[in-house]
Symmetry: C4
Subunit: 219 residues, 4 copies
Amino acid sequence: MRWSWVNFRFSRLKSVMPKSRVESFSDCVIAFAITLLILDIHLEDAGPNIDNAGMIQALLALAPRFSIYVISFLICTVAWVSHHELIHDVDCVDSRLLWLNNLYLMWIAFLPFPTGLLGHHPDQPVAVALYGAVCAITCLCSFVLRWYASFGGRLMKKEIAETKLRRDLWVSLYSFLLYLAGMAAGFLVPRLGLFLYAGIPASYAISELVRRKGNGRAR
Amino acid sequence: MRWSWVNFRFSRLKSVMPKSRVESFSDCVIAFAITLLILDIHLEDAGPNIDNAGMIQALLALAPRFSIYVISFLICTVAWVSHHELIHDVDCVDSRLLWLNNLYLMWIAFLPFPTGLLGHHPDQPVAVALYGAVCAITCLCSFVLRWYASFGGRLMKKEIAETKLRRDLWVSLYSFLLYLAGMAAGFLVPRLGLFLYAGIPASYAISELVRRKGNGRAR
Amino acid sequence: MRWSWVNFRFSRLKSVMPKSRVESFSDCVIAFAITLLILDIHLEDAGPNIDNAGMIQALLALAPRFSIYVISFLICTVAWVSHHELIHDVDCVDSRLLWLNNLYLMWIAFLPFPTGLLGHHPDQPVAVALYGAVCAITCLCSFVLRWYASFGGRLMKKEIAETKLRRDLWVSLYSFLLYLAGMAAGFLVPRLGLFLYAGIPASYAISELVRRKGNGRAR
Amino acid sequence: MRWSWVNFRFSRLKSVMPKSRVESFSDCVIAFAITLLILDIHLEDAGPNIDNAGMIQALLALAPRFSIYVISFLICTVAWVSHHELIHDVDCVDSRLLWLNNLYLMWIAFLPFPTGLLGHHPDQPVAVALYGAVCAITCLCSFVLRWYASFGGRLMKKEIAETKLRRDLWVSLYSFLLYLAGMAAGFLVPRLGLFLYAGIPASYAISELVRRKGNGRAR
């Protein structure tokens, strides 16, 4: 039968598809998205003869954008570390994973827009909520990607315990819910939203660093 | 004879040229083109004291650009997956393939221009048609690249059946023709053109995902 | 003696330094420089209600920038293919090669500036000459890099014939001299300069493609 | 006990985490930061009918930005070479190294901002001092990263002598102190600051090139 033959060819192809290009493509996209964040920060109308006090004042006026830069960098960095660990645990790649991964990258690549918006309007409730919404959707995509790799497509390496897979899934889901909460809080009290947006990835990073303390150096 | 010796040296060189750098270079260019798409989306003249309603309205006014962003991301993503599969099936790389590949990348790297144009003028027939023309030319380059790898240069791995090669070639050619049709339709009815531009890569992705259903996890 | 020991450590380190990161870093820089070229092309002051004729006219007015985009893409592409072949033939990397390579990349990364300048002032003799000067310096850096790898540092694989190394060096030197000539010609007759700038990489590419004809598929 | 089991799983995971993705991600970020530097250099208000003398004058007026471009490129290049050598000597990667590396990349990715500021205000003491401050912080991050890899986490390959590790640490620390001095000098005499900022990476590069002289080609 013709179709089953096509299926056979595809399944053979699928099996040998290496994950190296998924890694390098994702690295590139996340690295670019991170680096693009800085493009939005520049002094706009400082005259050529600005004095020291004026320059310092102009730089201080950019403080919100610096904060947002650091927050977005932190969020992208957490996304990269988490993506790194997920793909590292994956055994082989099928085309659905490719598409879910691309969907995830689309939201990562979209992040410079709400970052820029928030940098210009750090106290604007809608801007704060939009930022949280994009972060929440990114986490949701990450959750779906992780769910598919772990359970839907069963693409993980065999030796990885189901307990660990479930635990990592819950962490993704928690981040999604936390960003949703941050979005709601940010719409009501913008400063609180910003604080939450910074706190979520920071607490993830700190919890990871603390938990691994005392392991010594594994070989 | 001197020339035949040069030829000999070249043929030896050609044979050992790895495809890894072609992959990483293409990944970088496609990833960068994708990430640049977002640079065109920004609020231009929102005052510092914009209220919630004004901000929501300003964001809604950007809706056409968001749609184009998603469409272009989808098109680039399909291009990347298709390129990934082609290079994966290639056995060795010769210099003509390098040049055809670079020609293809030139059109991918060009995509941010019609994307930006269409984002600013979503109802302008010429902008819609130009976008379709660039997509069509990109598909044509992809077709030529695939044709050369499969038949002109016979660079594919030996175990890949000719039926599959022909089938993939037809898919490339169909996309080219569909974009040409989309270009004509878009010139007459811009909205229809946009719908087609989104539908072509989406249907490709969906057909790929559906067809592979039920394969389970191939090793 | 202490210094000789440091030397020993360095020489040991130097020997094991892989060339893979030089490749990926160079790929990234060249790919970004290529993709950045498009950022300079955009319609500036087309009103929202522009009609078809106006849009076509506005696009035609961008024709010089499209031409420069294609020329710069071609030049970068030739640079990438040539760099690819050089590093492929290199056996190991020492720190001088790293620095010469970085110097070369600095001029590649600089190319978007004269490209943008030439796109805005295609008939301005100084802009045309500057473009040629940057291309010439890039070729000169490529020549020095190739000379160092081949003869100064003797880093090439042993099995590569000296005849081939000398021939490739001459090709680099010829391109440098041709760009110098193009620069002089472009200062006097700008259009002639542009023609030469496009012709040099194109003739390189064509000569490469033609010469390798008839080799069949080397394994 | 559940927690120790989780620890066990993590330590196993940590050990197998390859350093290749850290390399490629860092390469991308540094390459992108380098390439973005050029975006800030462009002629702003040259009319369409500018003559040769006017064009040359306009280009000469950009001279400070060209100088800063070269200095920043040099600094990033030194950072890349130094990072390359560090990661090359590292045996395995743990999550703290990932985070310290990301912190380091954050400052590298931030460099285009002070570069642009300094390019527009080359004689402004605050701009000069800010540039030095960012360079100093980058060096400090590099010092911490190197310290952690060498002593805090003991992640280096076993065969690397402690003398070399200490020596490299001191070099990082010296650069940090030199940039601090450059920052102070630049605040008082801007030109002197610029001279120091260029001199520090240049002297590093020269000292490296000279010291390795006479090694011949190590295998």
